[in-house]
Symmetry: D2
Subunit: 291 residues, 4 copies
């Protein structure tokens, strides 16, 4: 079995790499701050000093990085080292454009590229509960599948157009924040009419909206449990910006995405960088004179 | 056991009255068009010719009518006839203001009033799957409970302020249409990037949004199954108007509710009266040049 | 010359009635609080104790009241007293629907009705600088014209459909507040980039936006001269509500009107009842973290 | 007198360079397509083959280019050639960030940079009616002033922060399109209520909105004179994108700018690239079912 390079050991990458180790893959890890890699050494990982050193020619590389720039920064080394027959499984939340660009560069170098972004917070990653969306050439997806199955509870294919899974991931985050905004306005109206926001949320999350997003985010919003953040405001801003960029390039007006972006901007302008992104809810309360 | 009067045998009222009959209640029904009542005669219902004739002094009246005006229209007769010791269970989707006004008038006449609006479409009503929100004096709710339990799968109390359940119902409908708008924008963006809207919906409705609203409305929107309507556009408009009215009176800005209202207006302006309200989705597609 | 009845001596009505007196009309005034009428007695007005007492059969009545309800409240008496050959010049800012309804009732009683709402603040009224929009039967407008010319600097006809002038007035107020919102967002962006809002406004109001609205409201917004109000927040809310009502009835989505309405609601929720409506500007500043 | 280099002879640059020639400046012009330059040769201009060739060491360069990228593309050559004592007058509509970046690079090379964007269409440029906003070091502005006075009817200073004039220009374009949106919604409401859009516009542009923007754009919108475009849709999109970029960086939520951006996207999605940007008006009409 080829060794697997895993690049990016942040809050998501670390538990994901650990799952690969647990599943028996030989994993070489690389992270900008080496200490994160050392955490996995005791569990069997080899720790590399550079991205290039982690990659084996013709092998498989998994990347889980903070954003498009971070991914592009290591891409040169990865593509050069990987060479013919290699496979890059890109799991970061990035723009479809970045995936298309990297896939083309990989193709030119004889290697494959699949986009495989994930839904789920760090706790979900640790519990192997991630939902993984994947797109790219079907042969490449087949090759990636054993690794993806080691890291998530379900794998969802979105076809050969390599950016498709990224679009699905981005609109998913957009839909999550849309649900938050809906709850925010609903709770504000309820509260001003004497209802208890926890009771409101209990009803919805047990009945017509009995699904993870409303249950998690509804609880966070009802209790205003914004610190420490599960998904911090600037990360939400990054994703909504990507949604708006894709929307502009695709010529798709998205007024609800614009509303959410304005809410995030307001939160940042008011100094809420280290709040969970659910805290956009505060805008509805403040505009209603509730705070 | 007192006889129960059931007023309003529309698409919701008819299956609800039937559940009361099945549960063994003696039910006298009244509907503006008598034919609807006759349908239940074979199942044991008594059919009255007027609202007043259906009501027994000191008894229980259930109303399930189209809107605030329809409810207020029969209220005079109901209140007069019901008198001391009576109970009015108001299950229509109306404004909290109407409930507060009727509750006051009932109190003046010595009778009780509870608001008990429901979530669920006609099929859900027939299958005893409605979710019932209820508010009012706790003694009155206790008295209403056996009937509510005969008609729904769960009963959710929202306290003594009689309009509270109406607010919960209205914001619920607002949240449902918010989910539709989120899917509409997401699907438009996906489609312009080569994704299949059914595949997009399948992922969401099986994973992070695996709950009735996203499953039902996601399917309707993905398949554009807008006719015949499950919940027609003008009904959606009525409910969003009520949301906006309460928001204005309560001084709660709701930009997302405004967006949904504009979507409904567009659909009506384009002649989609007899489409399911999910068809607000078409605006996103049209504005993106997809149709 | 017939005597003219003038009903409603508020901040606008008083200077308007005075202009009629100055122009030589015999005017009988009526106001709910009689003291206002007494102010004009010294200038030649007759003061009546009731609306009906002010009106002469077959004569002319001018009304300038706070809203639709106030106008409808006195309408019964006016129509009854005026009778055949009378003319009602309705100058209040009301809905086109109210004008249509009153015109029909006047027609049934043999009298005429024209809608003649005005643009301009009390100072403009005093200086005979009002702009008057008028709609109704052309014969009735001809009969009204000498009075209108005594009260405004220009008269603008909008045809025989009696509600037309009201629509023009309402969209005018909508356009004014739209200009305020545009300036508010522009000033917030400028201020956060180090520009001076007064300098920004000076440029616009001297060049491409050198017209009364931008000059007046730009100055108010740049200086935040919100108290005492020239046009108080609740009046703005009343007019935007009318705009939204007409939009809903006409099936015209107006997202900008919705934005303005939300701004007004926010201002009211934050306790700014006695601010000039230009103070919706504060929302942009607050959401940008500038206050 | 130093020779002046003028780079960029598009629809705006050409008439502006001509004004410099008329005012007696010795002008060397450069344009990517040389033919544009030849047009001015007969009027006394020297035509250069490269940007660098047009620039004189220590002299003055005026640039009027399509966007940030075009400006940055020629900036290397300009800065290198201009050297100590030179002055760059940048008149393009670009982001304040670009101005700040270029000003820093000029400073490092010993030359000065002022931002001097303009308001006005090509006809206004030809008639010396442009309004010029300028920011930068006061000494540099003083040196630029004779040229600016030769090209515009008025010069407006916005201080030493070099990006300030760009912000003023961008928010100005935002305010212009805001006025268009306000008229669009107003006209749609009017039209559905039987008013004539030309009559509506005539009133506004002669009275409370009697200023160039409402007069020009009101006429274009009332007559739907969208082709040929005075300012084409993609140019409007470019400017609104810059507004949104600055807003995001500055953390200033601008919901009205978002609405305008969505309108532009809709127009582009519907294939209206070669329409005047005023044609965002069509969205209001279409959503109201008027087309």
């Amino acid at each position: 079995m080829h060794k697997v390079a895993f690049i990016g050991l942040g809050r998501m990458g670390l538990p994901m790499a650990r799952l690969l180790l647990k599943a028996g893959f030989a994993v070489t890890v690389f992270n900008r701050t080496r200490a994160k890699g050392e955490l996995l050494a005791a569990e069997g990982a080899t720790v590399a000093d550079t991205a290039a050193a982690a990659v084996e020619a013709g092998g498989i590389v998994v990347t889980m990085l903070a954003n498009d720039v971070a991914l592009k920064t290591i891409a040169d080394d990865v593509i050069a080292k990987l060479g013919k027959g290699g496979l890059h499984i890109s799991m970061s939340t990035v723009s479809p454009e970045t995936s298309r660009e990297l896939a083309a560069r990989h193709a030119a170098a004889g290697s494959d590229f699949v986009a495989a972004p994930v839904f789920g917070r760090p706790e979900a990653a640790a519990a192997k509960l991630l939902r993984i969306c994947v797109s790219g050439a079907s042969g490449a997806i087949d090759r990636a599948r054993p690794l993806l199955e080691a890291m998530g509870q379900s794998i969802h294919e979105f076809g050969a157009e390599v950016g498709a899974a990224n679009v699905q991931k981005l609109v998913g985050n957009f839909m999550i924040l849309s649900a938050v905004e809906a709850m925010a306005e609903a709770f504000a109206l309820g509260e001003k009419n004497g209802l208890d926001r926890k009771a409101m949320n209990a009803f919805f999350s047990e009945t017509i909206f009995a699904c993870p997003i409303y249950q998690n985010y509804g609880r966070i919003a009802a209790e205003r449990a914004y610190q420490p953040p599960g998904f911090a405001m600037p990360l939400g801003m990054k994703d909504l910006r990507l949604v708006r960029d894709v929307a502009e390039e695709s010529r798709v007006p998205m007024p609800l995405a614009d509303l959410l972006h304005a809410r995030l901007l307001t939160a940042l302008a008011k100094g809420r960088e280290d709040y969970d992104w659910t805290a956009i809810e505060l805008s509805s309360a403040e505009d209603a004179g509730l705070r």
